[in-house]
Amino acid sequence: MSFALDVFSIVANGAGVFFFVAGIVGLLRFPDALTRLHALTKADNLGLGLVVLGLLTRAGSLLGALKLIAIWALVQLAGATAAQLIGRAVRRKGPAV
């Protein structure tokens, strides 16, 4: 059982890292600010989400697990808000800002 949990943890963490890499590649390769913003939010949500999921299996206590979930939820909130704000700034001033 613990072996299965370990495998799950490693797979989830690996998938999280994959999304971070994907996000960075998007940030580097996409042509304009709005599409780059799109890539950024995916990395934020899925990358950290999967890393947190992987680490949840190792959380020692309920409080620790709740903290991990809270971290993810807060980053979701921050990411979504920042994306909105940046997106609006881009639209207001044009992509060259």
Partner: protein
């Protein structure tokens, strides 16, 4: 172990690269964003040094109030940048400065490499009396019990800095509020964030403060998080900075050092001397003092960011 060492070297190079960016970036705004990123990396370095309390301070202050202060300043100073760019010193001075800095770095690096291992330490002394303070976190014990005068004076420095910032106000604005008048309509997205975040932030701030007695955390870190929450309310324009003449504001600013000092003096009567706590009551007293310091920090830091008064006081 070798993987970890490689990681550490990578982290070190990263920190250095971002620091170099901060110095050599073209525009001030770029430099400031680099500096914020640098603060984040630094808190990872502190984790690697097993100094979690420091990491918490670095990210609570560096990620919150410092970022807001510097980004705001860079945006205001944008128009002055082109003028200042003409005053870049000559090539020979740069070379001289570079040589000087390399020398300083070399000397410091030599000192670092020549340090004895294990080095001199006060940890056993800190551990010896830890039980008497009733605390589990040695860093908090050092801050509030062993080196209490330092910490009290540091709060005084914070208050003096606020006095300094406020004294930059033009005469006609004295007693007024910092910052611009509230906008007619706050930006909806920002307002949403500023409504959701503070309740959670206050919870986390108080948790960090409370946990600070035994786990990494404490009044500084908790206070900096609370300060950031007040700041986001002001940034979203859901609330305004209070006028600097407000009595409650001034009381809150001096509450921390005043209470701390009062208990320090009371140590003469209740215990063996200045800033000593009566045995058995140390922990409740420390938490009581820390609660007021939390308040002072949570009020001081946003006032430092908000700057001098910029509006005439209401009659």
């Amino acid at each position: 172990m070798s993987v970890r060492l490689a990681l550490d070297i990578g982290l070190a190079l990263l920190v250095f690269a971002v620091a170099a960016r901060t110095i050599f970036a073209r525009g001030a705004f770029e430099a400031v964003v680099d500096y914020v990123a640098y603060g984040l990396l630094l808190s990872i370095v502190w984790i690697r040094l097993f100094a979690v309390d420091v990491a918490l301070t670095e990210d609570a202050i560096g990620g919150g109030v410092t970022g807001v202060l510097l980004i705001g300043a860079a945006a205001r100073l944008r128009s002055a940048e082109t003028v200042a760019a003409e005053e870049t010193p000559s090539g020979s001075l740069r070379v001289f400065a570079a040589c000087l800095c390399l020398l300083v770095t070399a000397v410091l690096a030599g000192v670092v490499l020549l340090l004895p291992d294990p080095g001199p330490t006060l940890a056993p002394q800190a551990a010896e009396h830890l039980a008497e303070t009733g605390l589990g976190n040695p860093v908090t014990a050092v801050l509030i019990a062993y080196r209490a005068v330092d910490t009290m004076l540091e709060k005084v420095v914070l208050v003096l800095a606020v006095v300094g910032v406020w004294s930059l106000a033009p005469d006609r604005f004295w007693g007024g509020a910092p910052g611009e008048a509230r906008a007619a309509r706050p930006e909806p997205t920002l307002a949403f964030l500023a409504q959701v975040l503070p309740p959670l932030g206050i919870l986390v701030g108080i948790h960090v403060f409370w946990a600070g007695a035994n786990e990494p955390g404490g009044a500084f870190q908790g206070g900096a998080i609370l300060a950031a929450m007040w700041l986001i309310l002001m940034m979203a324009r859901l609330t305004e900075a209070p006028p600097v003449g407000a009595l409650w504001l001034r009381l809150a600013l001096v509450a921390g050092p005043a209470v701390f000092l009062a208990f320090g003096v009371a140590g003469f009567v209740m215990a063996s001397g200045f800033f000593s706590y009566p045995p058995g009551f140390a922990k409740p007293l420390i938490l009581f003092i820390e609660a007021f310091m939390l308040l002072t920090i949570a009020v001081t830091l946003p006032m430092l960011v908000a700057g001098p008064p910029r509006r005439e006081p209401r009659p």
